[in-house]
């Protein structure tokens, strides 16, 4: 059994995959708490797809994919921030148009290359087994920056998410904080690019955080729990991927989803069974 657990990680690329998965599991889940509470899931997904052209251009130029993704993500975050202020169309409509167009543009760019089917799959769904040491460093630094920002501005994010009216009367600028949040989301998407890919990053943002939401009633605990669930799902998913020989990003996401479904049924207060029982007591 011990052997079964340790054997995958005797391989060096598996060690890198493990570290990368853990980082992504934690960062996505922590930031995901705000994504869930502020109903920004759609925005996160859109942001992820919108960086595809940036990745494609970096790919065509033979530059570092993560660097391309990072630049694209920041451009898109600024774009969405400005776009949603104008209010000519409803925000979700604007985002929907933008991200579908960006996805199409990315696919067009990548399809000019012959090996495009394989490369596209890697970008869309991740290829954690191909993480290099350099990638790992960049991922680690970005992740640390995101977590440090969340930690430092924790109470500001709490205030702006819970009660924007109070934030305003205390002289805060909720729009500014929303903008910071967009940037953090963009960085997180970049961090997740190689493990779960553009297509599944939204699941990593939302699923562990939503699971934690079902299990606790305090934000700080929700974040800690989400991080633990995200990390555990990442490791478990990696094992499934190794032994069942399935795509790793998808395995991680499915693991997290199963954990969510269990919590959805058995969570102490918000779970299905607890609510049924409460309803029965009330009768």
């Amino acid at each position: 059994m011990i052997h079964w657990l340790t054997q995958p990680f005797t391989l060096e690329f598996m060690q890198r995959a493990l570290i990368a998965s853990l980082i992504v599991g934690v960062v996505c889940s922590v930031l995901g708490c705000f994504v869930v509470l502020r109903a920004m899931a759609f925005l996160g997904d859109a942001l992820a797809h919108a960086i595809l052209p940036g990745v494609a251009i970096a790919y065509l130029l033979g530059a570092n994919l993560l660097a391309g993704a990072l630049i694209a993500a920041l451009v898109v975050a600024v774009g969405i921030g400005l776009f949603s202020r104008r209010g000519a169309v409803k925000e979700d409509t604007a985002i929907g148009i933008l991200f579908a167009a960006a996805l199409a543009l990315g696919v067009v760019l990548i399809s000019t290359v012959r090996s495009y089917a394989v490369d596209l799959t890697h970008i869309l769904f991740g290829n954690v087994l191909g993480v290099s040491t350099g990638d790992l460093w960049l991922t680690g630094i970005l992740a640390a920056a995101v977590l440090a920002t969340v930690f430092l501005l924790y109470k500001e994010f709490l205030l702006a998410s819970f009660d924007p009216v109070l934030a305003h009367t205390l002289g805060r600028r909720p729009e500014l904080l929303r903008f910071v949040m967009l940037i953090l989301l963009a960085l997180t998407v970049v961090v997740s690019l190689q493990t779960v890919g553009v297509g599944l990053v939204a699941a990593m943002l939302v699923t562990p955080a939503a699971t934690a939401y079902l299990l606790t009633r305090r934000l700080s605990r929700m974040m800690a729990l989400a991080a633990a669930i995200g990390a555990a799902s990442s490791v478990a998913g990696l094992y499934f991927s190794y032994y069942l020989n399935v795509a790793s990003g998808a395995a991680v996401v499915l693991t997290a989803t199963v954990v969510f479904m269990v919590a959805f049924v058995v969570a102490p207060q918000r779970g299905l069974l607890a609510r049924r029982a409460a309803a029965r007591r009330a009768v």
Binding site: L153, F162, V165, R172, R218
Partner: protein, 275 residues
């Protein structure tokens, strides 16, 4: 200047002797929603430690006045000046408890967390709450008799308890001026009396209070000053000066019925703000 109303500025706590030292000084404040005039050249001065009941029919602009005071709505004309009694005192001039809290009640925060938010204004962006802040929060919870609820999620409380949480949060701001938008609406008699007692204690501490209400009885019995509002300021002064037949007809129009020396205001939908 049309807005002042006949009793504005004569004698009394709102009168000229105090004017220079007024805590809150509004001059010709005008607020528009699009092209709709919500506040029309409202001029009024509230002395330090004064308690003002803001009265008027539905849609008179009471909530609008409060929102303009805390900067949630832009003022199209006129000026709002807020003076600290002690010019050295730092920040946190106004605390505001809205008519209806527009918040997500399922948000994972405890009562303690919510009241602590009242301290954020003093903390700035990066500082975390200190022991002194926790002390103020504990005192505010005591003051509203909800210390035993501190660890409960806000979503689990009753409507009356939730209102106390937001009052406690406003107190935790340690404000000079406290704005309460219709705190008496939808609460039972006990809560109403408790709130009036709280206002008495705030009076002792010299906190300036503005309360919007449809409760004319409380307004005339328990407040120093009454501002009768209907887009413009119809009258402002001591309750006895403001609650005259003439003023009330001017503010409420056909809604006001005078029955044997008693005023009855016919309000079908008390406290309902347009959603």
């Amino acid at each position: 200047m049309s807005a002042g109303g006949p009793h504005q500025g004569d004698g009394g706590p709102a009168g000229r002797p105090h004017h220079a030292a007024a805590c809150l000084d509004l001059r010709d404040v005008t607020v528009l929603y699009g092209h709709r005039l919500a506040l029309d050249h409202v001029t009024l001065a509230v002395p330090h430690g004064g308690q003002v009941a803001v009265v008027g029919p539905n849609g008179a602009g009471k909530s609008t006045l409060f929102k303009a005071l805390v900067g949630l709505l832009p003022v199209r004309g006129g000026s709002i000046e807020l003076r600290d009694r002690d010019p050295q005192a730092r920040a946190q001039p106004i605390a505001y408890v809205p008519q209806r809290e527009e918040i997500d009640w399922s948000f994972p925060v405890t009562v303690q967390d919510v009241v602590m938010m009242g301290r954020y204004g003093r903390l700035g962006w990066l500082r975390r709450p200190q022991a002194a802040d926790r002390e103020v929060v504990a005192r505010s919870l005591e003051e509203l008799a909800i210390a035993d609820l501190a660890a409960r999620p806000v979503g689990d409380l009753s409507g009356g308890q939730q209102q106390r949480v937001f009052l406690a949060r406003a107190l935790a701001q340690e404000p000079h001026v406290l704005l309460l938008d219709e705190p008496f609406t939808g609460v039972d008699v006990g809560a109403r009396e408790a709130l009036l007692d709280l206002l008495d204690r705030l009076r002792d501490r010299g906190i300036t209070v503005l309360v919007s209400t449809h409760d004319m009885e409380a307004a005339s019995r328990r407040f120093d000053l009454v501002a009768l509002l209907n887009h413009r300021l119809v009258a402002y002064g001591r309750p006895a000066e403001v609650f005259t037949k003439e003023h009330i007809s001017a503010a409420f129009g056909g809604q006001a019925l005078f029955l044997e020396g008693m005023v009855v205001i016919d309000q079908c939908c008390e406290g309902d703000e347009p959603r």
